[in-house]
Amino acid sequence: MAYRWKNNLTDRDVTDEAAWLNRRQIMGGMAGLGLAGMASGARAEALEPNAYEDITSYCNYYEFGTGKGDPSKYAHMLATEPWSVKIDGMVDRPGDYALEDILAKMTIEERIYRFRCVEAWSMVVPWNGFELADLLEMAGVQAGAKYVAFETVLRKDEMPGTRYPVLDWPYVEGLRLDEAMHPLTIMASGIYGKPLLGQNGAPLRLVVPWKYGFKSIKSVVRITLTDTQPPTSWNKANAREYGFYSNVNPEVDHPRWSQASERVLGSSLFAGKVPTQMFNGYEDEVAGLYQGMDLRKFF
């Protein structure tokens, strides 16, 4: 059952390629003349997706290196065909699911989401993907399951960043089952109608728009249903800084920087930050999931 959630943005909000290429030049020119600051004003009126070039060149994917440009440089090394996802744990139909079989059964929708990185920058991405709930229903979630664990592919030869112990590889993430089943939670296979590029988590990645970006695990090869809270990579690396939930929350700072505001990617050198919204602007949709929880404690 797709289309549980409807974009309040339509296809027309996706800027076509020619237009955003132009826009970049115009903005560059404006910035040079000191006339910038208009970009943030535009954001308030309509959520404008970032340029394809920005989305595909400014990435955090430490398996390919810690520089923002490293993933776009090296991610082509990762072979994404053939691809299968192992779905196991507390499901009725465990197994290795070939990606093409998954995609054939799912309804691909466009979802234009805000994407807020824990590093206090953000962009707007027009994803193409399907609801994770549909995939989980396909595998048949058993009654006792409470959490969903995810794992990123790990191939040392094809992922040069994994030679360094930046994190404990492979990258793992997790969601509570109700978060995973939420209609906003999708598995994305494309951006701007094109198949995902390696640096964005090809061929299949999670997107949870109300959480910090690192929760949206890339290049998923395994999904496991469990009844215990699964370990997550950044939490293992530094539990004081990265919690299991990691919901976007302007009121709870990262120990090393403020989360009250964010810089919108693609805006000029002279444009300031914009305030960060509770649950990244999806408060109406997801606040109910956390009713009665102390979000300072469960950050």
Partner: protein, 204 residues
């Protein structure tokens, strides 16, 4: 032989070339950021360019004395230009952070007090400020060489603070900032008397 060749070549380079080069690079990087050519996050990119160059020049400045002592490479007359250029980058780094990044005065102070990596960075800057202000012949004469040299030893803790600032701000376990910290520590150890005395006995 190599040392002599370097010394000969270096004699032909005017020290003002360093000021021109660094000044031009600071301006060039700013232009790139302002015209959208430094990627979609120009503020962070510019902060990083300036901060990293400052740290590199501080390391280069610290290498000048050991190069003379242990390798007979004499670049001493560039030391002031290297130090002042490092400070120029540092000032640019700080200004980008103040004016383009944080902007709000109340938040600037809160960040300095609340965020250890910013506290550490600011402390490094504070230590270098008097050094930049006294990096001129007039100050050396006025202070006397001994007092001046003692004051300028503040670059040692400042360099450590600068490298630690970099180590503290990255996410996860990353090698690059640790290389800078390692370089600073090695260059400082080479000045430490027990080590310096032992190695000086080696014929040059």
């Amino acid at each position: 032989m190599i040392a002599q060749a370097i010394n000969r070549a270096a004699r032909r380079v005017p020290t003002w070339a360093i000021y021109i080069l660094c000044g031009a690079h600071i301006g060039w990087a700013f232009w790139l950021a302002a015209s959208g050519q430094l990627g979609p996050e120009p503020v962070k990119a510019l902060e990083h360019v300036y901060g990293e160059k400052a740290l590199q020049l501080i390391v280069a400045g610290l290498a000048i004395t050991p190069l003379l002592k242990f390798a007979r490479v004499n670049l001493v007359r560039f030391r002031r230009a290297v130090g002042l250029s490092a400070f120029a980058y540092l000032l640019a780094h700080l200004l980008v952070w103040l004016v383009l990044d944080v902007r709000v005065p109340a938040e600037i102070w809160a960040d300095i007090v609340k965020r250890p990596y910013i506290t550490v960075g600011m402390a490094g800057f504070a230590l270098l400020l008097p050094l930049a202000l006294t990096s001129n012949d007039w100050s050396v004469r006025r202070m006397g060489a001994q007092a001046w040299r003692r004051l300028h030893k503040l670059v040692y803790p400042a360099a450590v603070l600068g490298a630690v600032h970099f180590v503290m701000l990255v996410k996860g376990f990353q090698i690059e900032p640790l290389i800078y910290l390692g370089a600073v520590v090695v260059l400082l150890l080479m000045r430490w008397k027990p080590i310096a005395a032992r190695t000086r006995r080696v014929p040059g």
